[in-house]
């Protein structure tokens, strides 16, 4: 009976759906939509899909993807036909997506949009998507503290100063991020996109000086604020103003209001932020492009906009969206919409990432006081020029291929040389079955180690720029090894980083071994109580995933809120050590973190090795009159050494390539000076304009250094340890 009932319900649904789509297509259409929205924006999207299904019978399934993984997933899956029908993305990735075939030109669109949002999604005269919403910076404030928000920077600074003190800050924003610096830049009339970009222009220097004044000298901005920190400061009523976007306002526990950014008093120009226009796109190779375009137009149009505005709190682009009442709740959306009218559309210039990187470098230097605005701007301009330099000239691959093939053949012949010996052949024949058993593992090694290694090494012979691969031979290596782009003493040169990496490895391994061994020796003492508990506790740092530990230490090193500075205050006022402002301090912070992570391994190895040393030997030495140090130096240590040496080699290789700690704790600060080779390679690959070839050359050099080190360590030990 129930089967009959459910069947009839299904039938009825099918009929209704068929009627709704005018029975063009018997199969029900399902549209997949990829997005990186969270919280209320995602809720709004789900609601819109539900409403759309009710109206048209077309099922739209939004699929959320983590923000950090979004673009790489889109860029790999969609061009291979594994993508959805629809995508949500910002206008500044459009040109890249168009080039990769991620998006299709859109169809008819009758909706009118605000602030040139439509034009933002046009490329080569074609419209590619449907504008959904604006993302830009506004001046957010706590309406309980501020009744009359300022409209110029002098008034802003004065008001902020009045609300600073006693753990409260007048203004919170990410003062060292280029995106947050952009409004001051525009307020002083500087430009960073277009044909004629110069980062050492007087306007930019003035903007840097102003940023320094606001961010540091006035003392109104908390140091190195993260969005979490700013959020909690605001929620506790300890931040009067915040420069951020609508995303900051979402989920606040306290009333929040906003107005557009103020005018820069010195110039009378408005501080204009960059504007991002978010759109919904029909994906390349969509299964139902027609239906997808219809839904996209609907979502961008008045009906979809109403839902997104109401539920998602979005500053929607559609002109015909329902009007917003003049209340506190809508204050942020209204401010974003007002700001969108004047804000500067984020450039889609392919050189922008290089400018961005150079600009941020200068900004950090100025903020830290490591350089005057003039010096920093000059350095930034130089940095930008090197970064924007066209890739090395294409080389003729033929000689390389010939050499590679010869080397490969030579290696193969060399490997097969022993086969000339009939005894060896016989031996192999006798052990045919054994070789058969080893075969799968050999294939796995080949596929998982040898092939990626060769492929990676091959990449180092190419240059990658703007999606183009050029064969350049050894010029990546020559650039790195001859340090053609930077003086050897620059933190960006290979040799500087190599020296830092070696220093990093030596200091770490020394501390790991001495602390680990010291603890192991103490844990062995008969008077220690609760030995097992101590041992377990001391192994904990090793058991916790190292990125978690690194993030915790990063927080503990925070200049204003970190536990370390609080401890160094010895109960009084916390110390004011800025751990990431100088090489030695940042290096120490990394070192402390990695020592915490690294000593348990050496302790465990030492404990194991000590088990193998008979107690008699030390007692004999004790009877011979040897003191503790002599016993250790002449009895324990020589016997520990053979067991510790392999651990030492492994430990130093791990440390040499300890990406997580460097990336998460100091992040290379200040000025990439605490970067080690592996994190530097990462930056070349992913942060400095996707120079994969250059990064691969770094990786090959790292391999070379470690290979030489491994061989040397073997020789030193007089036996094979690896």
């Amino acid at each position: 009976m129930s089967r009959v009932k459910s069947l009839s319900v299904a039938l009825g649904l099918c009929l209704a759906a068929a009627g709704a789509v005018h029975a063009q297509d018997a199969a029900p259409v399902e549209l997949k939509l990829w997005h990186a929205y969270r919280d209320s924006e995602e809720q709004a999207l789900l609601e819109a899909a539900r409403v759309y299904k009710e109206q048209t019978g077309v099922q739209v399934t939004p699929i959320g993807i983590a923000f950090g993984a979004y673009s790489s997933k889109v860029e790999t899956a969609v061009p291979r036909g594994n993508g959805p029908d629809l995508l949500i993305g910002a206008h500044d990735v459009l040109s890249k997506w168009q080039r990769l075939g991620v998006v299709e030109p859109a169809g008819e669109d009758s909706t009118a949009y605000r602030a040139g949002a439509g034009a933002a999604l046009e490329l080569e005269g074609k419209r590619y998507g449907y504008p959904l919403a604006f993302k830009t910076l506004v001046l957010l404030y706590n309406p309980e503290l501020i009744q009359d928000p300022p409209t110029d920077t002098d008034a802003l600074l004065a008001a902020a100063k009045a609300h600073t003190g006693g753990g409260s800050f007048g203004l919170a924003y990410e003062a060292t991020a280029a995106y947050y610096f952009a409004p001051w830049m525009h307020g002083f009339g500087a430009k960073i996109s277009g044909d004629d970009v110069h980062l050492d222009s007087p306007e930019l220097i003035a903007a840097l000086a102003f940023a320094r004044r606001v961010g540091m000298d006035e003392g109104i901005v908390p140091k190195s604020p993260t969005s979490e920190l700013m959020g909690s400061l605001f929620d506790e009523g300890k931040a009067a103003f915040v420069i951020s976007g609508p995303w900051f306002a979402a989920g606040r526990k306290r009333a929040i209001a906003a107005i557009p950014l103020p005018t820069v008093s010195q110039t009378g120009l408005p501080a204009l932020p960059f504007l991002g226009v978010e759109g919904v796109f029909v994906a390349g190779q969509a299964k139902h492009p027609g239906e997808a375009a219809k839904f996209a137009a609907w979502l961008a149009g008045p009906e979809g906009a109403a839902i997104r505005q109401e539920l998602g709190g979005q500053a929607v682009a559609a002109k015909d969206a329902p009007p917003l009442p003049d209340t506190l709740e809508t204050s942020v959306i209204r401010a974003v919409l007002a700001q969108a009218e004047t804000a500067i559309l984020m450039p889609t210039d392919p050189q922008l990432p290089n400018v961005w990187e150079a600009l941020e470098d200068a900004l950090r230097k100025v903020m830290r006081g490591a350089a005057t605005p003039e010096e920093a701007a000059k350095g930034a301009e130089q940095y930008r020029k090197v970064l924007s330099r066209p890739p090395p000239e294409a080389a003729n691959p033929v000689p390389y291929v010939v050499i590679m093939v010869l080397v490969g053949l030579g290696a193969l012949v060399w490997l097969c040389l022993p086969l000339r010996d009939p005894n060896v052949r016989q031996e192999i024949k006798n052990k045919k079955v054994d070789y058969l058993w080893v075969f799968p593992a050999a294939v796995a090694m080949l596929a998982l180690v040898v092939v990626p290694f060769v492929a990676g090494a091959a990449v180092s012979l190419f240059a990658h720029s703007q999606g183009e691969w050029t064969f350049v031979g050894f010029s990546n290596f020559l650039n790195i090894v001859l340090s053609r782009d930077w003086p050897v003493t620059s933190p960006l040169s290979f040799y500087y980083t190599l020296v830092v990496t070696i220093l990093w490895t030596l200091t770490n391994v020394f501390l790991h071994v001495s602390i680990g061994m010291g603890l192991a020796l103490v844990l062995r003492e008969p008077w220690i109580r609760l030995r097992g508990v101590w041992r377990a506790l001391l192994i904990v740092p090793w058991a916790v995933p190292n990125y978690i530990t690194a993030l915790i230490w990063k927080m503990m090193f925070h200049v204003q809120y970190g536990a370390i500075n609080a401890l160094l205050g010895f109960g009084g006022e916390p110390a004011q050590i800025d751990w990431f402002s100088s090489f030695s301090m940042a290096f120490s912070a990394n070192l402390i973190t990695n020592t915490w992570l690294g000593f348990p391994f050496m302790m465990v190895v030492t404990l194991g090795a000590l088990q193998a040393i008979p107690r008699d030997l030390e007692e004999a030495a004790e009877l011979d009159g040897a003191g503790a140090w002599f016993r250790f130096r002449h009895v324990t240590w020589p016997l520990l050494k053979p067991a510790l040496l392999p651990a030492l080699v492994i430990g130093s290789v791990w440390t040499f390539n300890m990406f997580n700690v460097i990336y998460l704790v100091s992040g290379g600060q200040p000025d990439s000076s605490t970067e080690i080779l592996i994190s530097e390679a990462y930056r070349w690959a992913f942060k400095r304009d996707l120079r994969y070839g250059y990064a691969a050359a770094y990786a090959v050099l790292i391999f070379g250094v470690l290979f030489v080190y491994g061989r040397a360590a073997n020789k030193l030990a007089g036996k094979k340890v690896l």
Binding site: L623, D624, G625
Partner: protein, 352 residues
């Protein structure tokens, strides 16, 4: 060179009482063997002497000096460990010179001292080898050599021969005896092997459960064991102990016919060594031969004496066969208090 004095020495590990009041004077130049079953505390006592274990109570003097709180390295004692404890990463020469090196003696002096001892112990060809390249006996000699080089006041030997095979062990026993005669240094030697104790010692101390059972020269321990424990521990094969009653007519073993003249009265434990029997037709006891162990020059008879089992040593060749009944006469008797196990002293003027 110096003697040793132990006064009321106690050692406790928490609740465990390992040494229960050891009192002993060891004269300079004595060869004292500490013997007892495993777990009796003999190794612990040795480690207390060395300073590797703290003394819980009592005094320890080396010569005239109280050394309870003196570090092991400052006591001027040298120890030979059961495992030899040779430093595996050092050559024989370096091993032997280690203590002198710690004492910061000049290299020439160290070399001379090592060479001299190496010559005495026939170690010269081994001086540049590592311990891992030596045989067990050679390692043992190196360990000895390392101790000798130091010229200590006291040698401490912790079962030094127990890791050697039987023939090497008997050879080394003789070597040790010679060594002691030549050096005339005080030696304290721990072993569980009573043969080692009897052959080497000038005095033996028998320990059981942390209590001294008897101290004396080997002959005395053998001839006049102070109690049934010493009686059974010293001498091989072990002494026969039989429950018996003594009165004017003599001693009668429970459940066995025949009285033997003796001064002991009342219920006692009667001890007779297997070597102290005579098989003779006019023997007082009649026993069945259960098993015969033929050892070459001698044969050990396992007999059923009434309800008791005893062992008797006879010279070979012997006509005795298994299953036969023979008559026995015990020649030397030891009488012990049945309750305390303590020896009942001989009347004055009697000889053993």
């Amino acid at each position: 060179m110096a003697g040793l004095t132990m006064r009321g020495l106690h050692k406790r590990y928490g609740e465990t009482h390992v040494l229960k009041g050891i009192d002993l004077e060891v004269d300079n130049g004595e060869y004292l063997v500490l013997v007892g079953p495993s777990g009796c505390g003999k190794s612990t006592l040795l480690r207390c002497l060395a300073g590797l274990e703290e003394i819980s109570e009592g005094d320890l003097l080396i010569g005239e000096r109280r050394v309870n709180d003196v570090l092991p390295g400052k006591r001027n004692v040298a120890m030979v460990f059961q495992s030899y404890a040779l430093y595996p990463h050092l050559t024989v020469r370096q091993n032997m010179g280690f203590a002198l090196k710690i004492a910061k003696r000049p290299t020439a002096e160290i070399d001379a001292a090592v060479d001299k001892v190496a010559e005495q112990l026939e170690l010269v060809p081994l001086l540049d080898r590592l311990p891992g390249q030596l045989s067990g006996g050679q390692r043992q000699r190196v360990a000895m050599g390392r101790a000798i080089v130091r010229q200590p006041d006291v040698f401490l030997f912790d079962e030094p021969l127990s890791n050697l095979d039987a023939s090497l062990r008997s050879h080394m026993r003789v070597e040790l005896k010679r060594l002691h005669r030549r050096l005339e240094t005080t030696i304290v030697h721990v072993t569980h092997d009573q043969v080692e104790a009897l052959t080497l010692a000038t005095r033996i101390m028998v320990l059981n459960l942390g209590v001294v059972q008897q101290v004396g020269p080997p002959r005395e321990l053998f001839n006049r064991p102070a109690n049934t424990f010493v009686a059974q521990f010293i001498g091989s094969p072990s002494m026969n102990i039989l429950p018996a009653q003594g009165d004017e007519k003599g001693i009668v073993v429970d459940g066995v016919d025949g009285a033997i003249e003796h001064h002991a009265r009342g219920p006692i434990e009667l001890g007779v060594r297997p070597t102290d029997f005579e098989v003779t037709d006019d023997g007082v006891w009649s026993a069945n031969v259960d098993v015969i162990e033929r050892l070459g020059a001698e044969a050990l008879l396992h007999l059923e004496l009434g309800p008791h089992k005893i062992s008797v040593m006879v010279n070979e060749p012997t006509p005795i066969e298994m299953g036969q009944t023979i008559r026995l006469q015990p020649r030397v008797l030891h009488a012990f208090n049945r309750d305390t196990g303590v020896r009942i002293p001989e009347p004055a003027g009697a000889t053993s």
